[in-house]
């Protein structure tokens, strides 16, 4: 079956603009995760959604970052007023539930000029 998909695969934007990154999880997976992969910080957790529970937003680096998950499926990560330090690869993952194997998407490479 299809794996986790993300769009766009690459995004170049100017400092100060808003961006939206999309994640389509594996069908039937109730848990969805966003991570960020950057040269300076490695792989960092951003946010976790599980079913209808309140998301764990503890990894979001600032209030410019937000994410939502509509209908328990597709998720959108929004970064407002982008800064150059936001440049990174944003990874989405999904799993069947807590503690289950997380399957990763190909990532969105974001470059803020």
């Amino acid at each position: 079956g299809a794996g986790v998909s993300q769009s766009p695969s690459n995004k170049v934007t100017e400092k100060g603009k808003d961006v939206e990154l999309r994640c389509d999880p594996i069908s039937g997976h109730t848990a969805l995760y966003w991570y960020r992969q950057s040269l300076g910080q490695g792989l960092e957790f951003l946010i976790y959604f599980q079913g209808n529970s309140a998301p764990d937003k503890s990894g979001l680096p600032s209030d410019r970052f937000s994410a939502e998950r509509t209908g328990g499926s597709v998720s959108t990560l929004t970064i407002q007023r982008t800064q150059q330090e936001d440049s990174a690869v944003y990874l989405c993952a999904s799993s069947r539930g807590p503690g289950e194997t997380q399957y990763f998407g190909p990532g969105t490479r974001l470059l803020v000029l």
Binding site: L43, S58, F104
Partner: protein, 111 residues
């Protein structure tokens, strides 16, 4: 605080040589540990997790709670093993389930 340490940024070996990628962790409780691999231009994928006690592509990893280690080993490296390897643990509780990753080790296997 929960932490995963991979002390080597780069490990270079020749084909057929044994490989050991080091991973140490700090975690209050019973950890659940993983190795993820990222081949060139491919997505991050699970290699193995300690609870399954499997051997995948010839790799094994044993959880040593006394030494708080979860080193990845393979007796005879192959060129196709060249990749970035990440050790990770799950920090799970009633409201979270996040992976905490080490900084990764790049394995280069020369012919």
């Amino acid at each position: 605080a929960q932490r995963v340490t991979q002390p080597e940024k780069l490990l270079s070996v020749f084909k057929g040589a044994p490989v050991e990628l080091k991973c140490n962790y700090s975690y209050s409780g019973s950890p659940e540990l993983f190795w993820y691999v990222q081949y060139s231009r491919q997505r991050l994928q699970l290699l193995l997790r300690h609870i399954s006690r499997e051997s995948i592509k010839g790799f094994t990893a044993d959880l040593n709670k006394g030494e708080t280690s979860f080193h990845l080993k393979k007796p005879f490296a192959q060129e196709e093993d060249s990749a970035m390897y990440y050790c990770a643990l799950i920090q799970g509780s009633y409201n979270t389930d996040k992976l905490i990753f080490g900084t990764g080790t790049r394995l280069q296997v020369f012919p």
